[in-house]
Subunit: 452 residues, 2 copies
């Protein structure tokens, strides 16, 4: 069915019939093909649908795309569509437009809505304020349920979120009322008597991710946002879902060092611009490792056997640092590493894991290296195995610590902790590890007066 | 406030007062402290709250914990709570119980509910059927809006999801009606005249992740599940959010090789059991790399300078394979690599990126290596730089391919693609890379008759 959508728009001449046929498609699917249409086909589509229907479609378009398309509309039509959009979607769109253009549209919308839009557009982009909507239903606590039902019927048409209802006293939030409870309630009850008072809420300046996490964990359909005790807006679950989904993708992309978001569908050059700088930077950092190894020139010439196992140490260092990094970043994004005590608990927990891991790895390394060297009939098999397993033990612990502490420090100094990607941490840990490995070997060889 | 919850339960003697004070807390928060209470305190809590209130609390408990607590209740109370729970939460709980016990409870619940529970519990666990609820409102398409409103009022109290309403003809789904539209509609309209017909739905056996993705992308509050054309259940947005959140965490944890889920809050030994086997397995695989390097013994002795740059090649190999792996797994979990054509497009796209990346890396490597070697006054700086940059070019391309193809092959043969963790792919790519690096060097040295 979806494949036929552009064809329908191209071939259907009668605008009224076109609308009827378009309404069989979900606005999301129509939004998906709009950018692929020719301008004249788009104008046909705009002419056939109502402003409300177009508003639904535009709310699914994102970023630059929505702006480009919006510029094709004349200002009156644009303002009419803005007026019909959910207020949070309208704000998103306005924020993408250049200021002058946004101002033009704002002039054309109704006073009350303009005020809402201005207020919401002024919120900080990482805080809940930026994602909230002001379009929900507030009811005074001492209102009778019958009267509340009348308010609902009167306002429902113009309101984005009708469930739950927010119960206030002088604009202060005092309770939440599920629509279901109102529907089954009988007069002369007051809404204050049937509302729930165990309110979960978010402060204005709370992080988006924390607020979205509350919606997920508490299983809410919307989260009220308070400024002091005053109810100023709500965050809905579908927006929270986007936040969680985007954050997960961002963290995943960062761990994989593809520069934040995963870029499956964008073109090759956009991908390159995101990934290549990472790679070039990491390459330069790797030359530091090469210099460190170069510094142990003499040792390597004396004991080339050490070279065979270098990758073994560096591989494990990369593995453990990626593990601890993953656990730490994931803890940070779930808001579990907010206070000093949590951080300390986490560090001590990870270090205990690391001690046991490294001991196990050192033992296994020792055993397998012995066998490996015995097969090759190496004369210094005990010494080499010892150097290897001791270095393994220390390198693994240090790199666990690097993976653990880097994102925490990044966060502390105001960097995005997710920037500490797996490859970055691995390369840094490598530098420590080659120091330990060849350094320890040099020490031992020096003490014993030559080995290989 | 939360810190006082256990204290309130411990000290408040009057059950009625206890209930009043408990109702100030969200069921999620009460669920959070229940496992930490003593059995006699839990019994006090159970005695003070209604079955509906307890059902809300139990629906937030998960897995083994909920079962342990449920076993403390006598069967009648347990059944009463099951009866009050949302049907999908009740199914989750029943599936955790052993069969005999589950059967006991099922005997005690109402006939109609028992049938629903049995039906839902029988669904495959990775398909939408396992997460759907049957507790929503169906209305016949030719029902008058006034009559529909009456149905709503009658059923709302017993129904989990009241918005949207599902419009059917002989159990076949023909439309979706937002509650808002019903509230503002006036008789003599029929629901069939005001419903939306652009239905987004899921088939019974569709993957949970795909269904959850639809709910997110289309911005739905619930997704109807069809068996043929018959409406058999719905998936709600809060369940979809859990699916997306869990999947993201699983993928992230897999990329970091911590064995699937991230394990922040569990104890050290559970974490170890998940992470250590990965590390030990990877260690053994690294010995393969060590053997390969060992095979180039003679070359290394002749040209120890090559050793300085080995980590450089292996680092980059790890970085690019992790990048392509991340992009590929993320594409698979978004359902973007379902058919052969998508896979082919993605492979060709990633390979083009890889060619450009590797060329850039090879050039930079050549330049920096020249400088590096010139500073060290190495006599064969051109040869070594050439070996290095040519190996870089080929190794990077091969490891991109490894990161790209492994999860696709895993998926094809029915493995979980996310099992292909960053460290695994890196270690495999390393083996190819050392072959290429020392192999190419050996070839060149052989051809030129000695170098270092």
């Amino acid at each position: 069915m979806k494949k036929r959508l552009p064809e329908i728009i191209r071939t259907e001449k009668n605008l009224r019939k076109l609308r009827e046929r378009l309404l069989d498609f979900h606005p999301y699917d129509i939004a998906g093909i709009i950018p692929k249409l020719k301008p004249e086909e788009r104008h046909k589509l705009y002419a056939s649908l109502t402003n409300k229907e177009l508003a639904d479609i535009f709310s699914y378009l994102e970023g630059k795309e929505s702006v480009l398309l919006f510029h094709e509309l004349d200002s009156t039509k644009g303002a009419a569509i803005l007026e019909e959009m959910d207020v949070d979607d309208a704000v998103d769109l306005l924020q993408e437009l250049d200021e002058e253009r946004a101002g033009e549209y704002l002039e054309l919308v109704e006073d009350e809505r303009r005020e809402d839009l201005r207020y919401l557009a002024g919120q900080e982009s990482t805080a809940v304020g930026s994602l909230m909507t002001t379009n929900f239903i507030k009811i005074e606590a001492d209102c009778d349920v019958k009267e509340a039902m009348r308010t609902l019927i009167r306002e429902a048409g113009e309101t984005e979120v009708i469930d739950p209802l927010y119960i206030t006293r002088d604009d202060k939030l005092v309770g939440i009322l599920d629509l279901k409870e109102l529907i089954i309630a009988r007069s002369p009850l007051k809404v204050g008597e049937i509302m729930k008072t165990n309110i979960v809420y978010s402060d204005m300046d709370e992080d988006l991710e924390i607020a979205a996490g509350k919606i997920r964990d508490y299983g809410l359909s919307a989260l009220p946002v308070l400024d002091g005790e005053t109810l100023v807006g709500i965050i809905t679950i579908d927006d929270a879902m986007d936040v969680i989904s985007d954050e997960a993708e961002y963290n995943y992309g960062s761990l994989a060092a593809v520069g934040g978001d995963i870029d499956e569908k964008v073109n090759v050059f956009v991908s390159l611009r995101k990934r290549l700088p990472w790679l070039l930077g990491l390459l330069l950092l790797s030359f530091v490792t090469a210099s460190v190894i170069g510094g142990f020139d003499e040792i390597i010439k004396q004991a080339t056997i050490l070279v065979f196992f270098q990758s073994l140490i560096l591989d494990m260092v990369g593995n453990v640092s990626t593990q601890t990094l993953g656990v730490t970043i994931s803890g940070i994004s779930r808001g579990e590493l907010e206070d000093r005590r949590d951080v300390r608990t986490n560090i001590s927990r990870e270090l205990r894991i690391s001690l046991i891991n490294s001991a196990a790895l050192a033992l296994l390394t020792f055993a397998v290296a012995l066998v490996f060297l015995a097969i090759r009939k190496h004369h210094a098999l005990w010494e080499v195995s010892l150097i290897l397993s001791v270095s393994m033990f220390f390198s693994v612990n240090i790199s666990s610590f690097v993976g653990l502490i880097t994102p925490i420090v990044f966060k502390k100094i105001g960097f995005d902790p997710a920037v500490a990607s797996g490859p970055l941490i691995t390369t840094i840990s490598d530098i420590f590890a080659v120091f330990i490995y060849y350094g320890f070997a040099a020490l031992l060889i020096h003490l014993s007066g030559g080995m290989a």
